[in-house]
């Protein structure tokens, strides 16, 4: 049964130093506001998990929240590199960042295994690539029926999964639609989950292609309108493309980055 609580209280309660924290949402519904609250509460030593780490992960990494990153693509979508991510990997600033690199399919299958209560998933990918030697969570496995040697990847079971959705009802059932990624599997695989929503409504009327997460699968819901900015929430807001472009210059330089984070995240009580 999900509790509807303020964002700061939810982060304080659910996310602890050293936790494995997944933040999912693809193209839109990216949980920026929750990420900012993690930064404001100075969480550290996190293992951050995300299929497609973008600007919010650049901010978390640059602020020293992360010890390790589990991912398959890390970039500023449509713009280029993540400079804070690169600085952490290439130069160890502000701290070294351990990488656990997987393919998109490997990440998705790991969530599915976690959500299914299975210890691992099987896929055809990775065979012949150097990732098999580089990533310890990729192992060969022999099919018991055909003898074919495939790849096993262990289940992902985050301590906490954080997503943003369009809305919840008063009982804490969550509904999201538009481009959906692996949010459902990521939430079901986690020990605890936090969902920020645009609004709480009386009734969740059906939407084509929507994913509904029942209240018993969700730990906390926090109402944060615009909580996906600069990404968007289909039906509620549009993508702030200019911000993604601007982030390239803001994030190139360590001091400029820190000044921006102070002014726009640390010293604001609540997110834009």
């Amino acid at each position: 049964m999900a509790q509807i609580v303020p964002l700061a209280a939810a982060v304080a309660d659910l996310i602890h130093d050293g936790d494995t924290v997944a933040l999912e949402g693809f193209t839109h519904l990216i949980p920026f506001a929750a990420g900012h609250e993690i930064i404001r509460q100075r969480r550290t030593d996190l293992t951050l998990v995300r299929m497609t780490p973008d600007v919010i992960f650049d901010q978390l990494i640059g602020m020293g929240c992360a010890r390790k990153l589990v991912f398959s693509w890390g970039g500023n979508p449509g713009v280029g590199s993540l400079h804070r991510f690169r600085d952490a990997v290439e130069a160890g600033w502000p701290r070294p960042l351990e990488l656990e690199e997987h393919s998109h399919a490997g990440m998705a299958n790991r969530y599915v295994a976690g959500a299914s209560g299975l210890p691992f998933a099987v896929l055809r990918g990775y065979v012949g690539t150097d990732l098999v030697a580089q990533t310890s969570t990729i192992k060969p496995i022999t099919c018991p029926f055909t003898g074919e040697v495939l790849t096993a990847v262990p289940a992902l079971r985050p301590d906490v999964t954080v997503i943003h959705a369009q809305r919840a009802d008063r009982a804490g059932n969550v509904q999201l639609w538009g481009i959906v990624g692996v949010q459902k599997e990521a939430v079901l695989a986690a020990q605890r989950s936090l969902v920020t929503v645009e609004e709480v409504v009386d009734t969740l009327d059906p939407r084509p292609g929507a994913v509904v997460l029942p209240t018993w699968a969700v730990t906390a819901v926090a109402v944060v309108p615009g909580g996906a900015h600069p990404s968007y929430a289909q039906g509620y807001s549009v993508r702030d493309n200019d911000f993604y472009v601007a982030w390239d210059a803001i994030s190139r330089d360590r001091e400029t980055f820190l000044a921006w984070m102070r002014a726009n995240v640390l010293e604001v009580g609540r997110d834009h």
Partner: protein, 254 residues
Amino acid sequence: MSPAPADRAEICVVACAEAFRGNGEILGAPIGIVPIIGARLARATFEPDLLLTDGEAHLVYGTWPVGEPPSGATEGWLPYRAVFDVVWSGRRHVIMTPSQIDSYGNTNISAIGDYARPTVQLLGVRGAPGNAVSHPTSYWVPKHSRRVFVPRVDSVSGVGWDNARKAGPAATEFMDLRVVITDLGVFDWETETRQMRIRSVHPGVTVDEVLAATGFPLIVGDEVPTTREPDETELRLIREVIDPHGARYREVKV
């Protein structure tokens, strides 16, 4: 009045379009401006059944300019979570841009230098470890150079023929590397050795120029064909319909 002759960027567009010839009703997944223009050109002309997205989650019919919203009818819904259904059934042909590629078609998009402490951390392997072993895969290199065409990639993100052979049937069963298209020519792999060969050089490019820009020996046939030029219909589609603002020149300078 006949149109001005095709320039190098337009030759590359048509070479990318040709990569999709005969593909039929599968998802074309061109990544990069020139491959996107090429895929739309292929569908508008000789490959009408190709499925293409609006760059997000809709499969859309019709022919519309790059950088603008689609004008055609929506014919399908393919959100991120559903893409694997297409990948794993082999119904997709991707064109990716590698940061490094070697003679056997191993590609690197992960890290330059030592993997544990790279000099350049790239964007990550993305779909590459699954693409090459699941469905047709081609590559687009906007600037053919020894920085990209290396004797040995620093890290194998997408498997090439030699490593796939070593890895066994799980890698080779559905492996289908098609072509590499660059600003200098089109390349594929010799059947016996599986080493890269020049399939054609673009008009105005010499074989020596290609060899000098490649960090490994290429297989060169007795007669190297010239990449075909677009016809008038194709030129009109590129210049007036698909890329009226010249986005192709951001990738291929002329």
